[in-house]
């Protein structure tokens, strides 16, 4: 049973083509990590999946329905705003910069969608929100505003907010890239726990260890294309494509990378 199917998906901004013939199948319950250099189209692919961006050609299916259109016989009717909003409910999104609603407390952030979109009673939604915050380890911060939370805490609230909508698939757009190094672990831990519940997850990330441990498959993207797909052991341990080898060479092997970086710092330091 497939949850997300992309067939020949293309997306461009003006003359800049950011997605080129993307073909991808994600099964129900599967956890897929998308890795690749910045500008490779990871984020855009995720944004197309929940229709923050419109694809230019191909077709993109989420949980059996074509995104953005209704099929009438041989023809397509573009969905209106309300129908798109309805379709988006099947995908939850966690953003790189958290995007918590800054005028609402953590609990209100989580409860807003259920009350306004799912028409839950405010009381029930508040109770559910508290339980979700408990799951991400932040029940004690229920009354805190986003500005009073650390980046890691904000991102955990954002995960709870996405979960509150009971989506079929969760999309993570580089969820730890905007975090201080010491806060990354707490977010990854929560994501790992969420993955273990069996929900479908697609995670654009630079955290190769997370990809290795948690994902069923890893997708490597570069220059708007999917270059290589496979199980994490193979992609990260035995890459075939030269582009992927180069990418892993640049960021992958931690020790070599660290030494390389240290050398770079020394060099730039002495020349200054």
């Amino acid at each position: 049973m497939t949850m997300i199917t992309a067939i020949d998906v293309c997306k461009s901004y003006g003359i800049l083509q950011v997605l080129k013939d993307i073909n991808l199948d994600v099964a129900r319950g599967e956890v897929v990590c998308i890795i690749g250099p910045s500008g490779s189209g990871k984020t855009t692919l995720l944004r197309c999946m929940n229709q923050l961006e419109k694809i230019n050609s191909g077709s993109l299916w989420v949980n059996g329905s074509l995104t953005g259109y209704r099929i009438i016989g041989e023809r397509l009717l573009p969905l209106d705003e309300h129908e798109i909003a309805r379709q988006r409910r099947s995908t939850g999104m966690v953003f790189q910069r958290f995007n918590l609603f800054s005028h609402l407390t953590a609990q209100q952030n989580v409860a807003l969608g259920p009350v306004e979109v799912l028409r839950q009673s405010p009381k029930v939604a508040a109770q559910n929100a508290l339980e979700l915050l408990e799951r991400v380890g932040l029940a004690h911060k229920a009354g805190a505003y986003p500005s009073e939370l650390s980046g890691g805490q904000q991102q955990r609230v954002a995960i709870a907010r996405a979960l509150a909508m009971k989506p079929d698939v969760l999309l993570f757009d580089e969820p730890t890239s905007a975090l201080d190094p010491e806060l990354v672990a707490e977010v990854l831990k929560v994501m790992k726990e969420v993955a273990q519940t069996g929900i479908t997850m697609i995670v654009a990330t630079h955290e190769l260890n997370f990809a290795r441990e948690v994902s069923h498959r890893v997708v490597f993207m570069a220059d708007g294309r999917i270059v290589e797909v496979g199980p994490p052991e193979q992609i990260l341990g035995d890459p075939r494509e030269p582009r992927l080898k180069r990418f892993l060479g640049a960021i992958g092997s931690k020790d070599a990378g660290a030494k390389h970086e240290a050398r770079a710092v020394l060099l730039s330091g002495s020349s200054a």
Partner: protein
């Protein structure tokens, strides 16, 4: 340039030679500020001069006192307050519709919103008031086929002309304030709201406007205070607000300055109250923004 290692001081002052001091406990010398003293003296002198001038001027303060709390004054004041509230409410409704219209995906709505602002911002407010008041000269009857018609003269009372004239005009100005407020909210907030399945209307009401208010309120407070005083324009179409009442009085008792002093007092009182209200609104909508920026 020589490469230095970073853990050695560049210049050699041994720490032991520095005096042992604590800025918290050491006795401090008071700085003299001779300029400040001069400023105070000048300000007091100026105030004394003004007070003296007004006390000796040809103003009959007993008349001012007499009319300050007269019932006719309160009637005019009441109508000023009423008109401020009515025109401001109308203006705000127009402004919000326009600001939302600017961001509409429908180009007809966008174009209409822009044209409205162009028209109402491009002509004097006084002119607009007079046009509304004299609407009957252009359209003697107003109404709809099948519903019935009414005489425009009956319909456009001074109150209606002033409310429409002031409201529609201020709406054009305030729409830009609201638009600025909407622009001030991070685009990520729109996206996060979309991502949980909210429509544009709901996003604006539940996510964007509550955050935009923080930016909107200070200039809107300005507009409110401006409107309080702009209602005086309505006196030209015969609406009985404060200035109109004061003028009516000095037309028969010739105490022009006295009456104007009375109205000045009450305008100041009104705008002072509004300033306080603005302060509380800003505190209310500043929730979640405790980052040390100036509120």
């Amino acid at each position: 340039m020589a490469v230095e290692t970073l853990n050695e001081p560049r210049i050699g002052i041994p720490a032991a030679t520095l005096p042992r001091l604590n800025v918290a406990t050491a006795t401090k010398i008071r700085r003299l500020r001779p300029l400040r003293l001069i400023q105070v003296v000048l300000a007091v002198a100026f105030l004394a001069f003004i007070t003296n001038a007004f006390a000796r001027a040809a103003i009959d303060w007993s008349v001012v006192r007499e009319y300050l709390f007269a019932s006719t004054t309160f009637i005019g004041l009441g109508f000023t307050i009423l008109m401020t509230i009515v025109a401001m409410t109308l203006g705000l409704m127009v402004a919000v519709l326009l600001a939302v219209g600017f961001g509409s995906t429908n180009f007809v709505i966008r174009w209409m919103s822009k044209s409205y602002v162009w028209l109402f911002r491009g002509t004097p407010q006084l002119l607009q008031l007079l046009l509304w008041y004299n609407l009957a000269l252009v359209f003697p009857l107003v109404g709809m086929p099948g519903v019935g018609y009414r005489s425009t003269v009956e319909l456009i009372t001074p109150f209606v002309a002033a409310a429409i004239g002031l409201g529609l005009n201020s709406g054009a100005y305030m729409s830009e304030i609201i638009r600025a407020g909407l622009l001030s909210v991070d685009v990520g907030q729109y996206e996060a709201a979309k991502a949980i399945g909210m429509t544009r209307g709901k996003t604006l009401r539940k996510v964007i406007f509550p955050q935009a208010m923080r930016v909107i309120i200070p200039p809107l407070g300005n507009e409110f205070i401006g409107m309080t005083k702009n209602t005086s324009l309505a006196s030209v179409v015969g609406f009985g607000e404060l200035i109109f009442v004061m003028q009516s009085i000095y037309f028969y008792n010739f105490k022009v300055i006295e009456m104007l002093m009375v109205s000045a007092f009450w305008y100041l009182a009104l705008t002072s109250i509004l300033s306080v209200g603005q302060f509380y609104l800003e505190t209310r909508f500043g929730r979640g923004f405790k980052d040390g920026r100036q509120k």
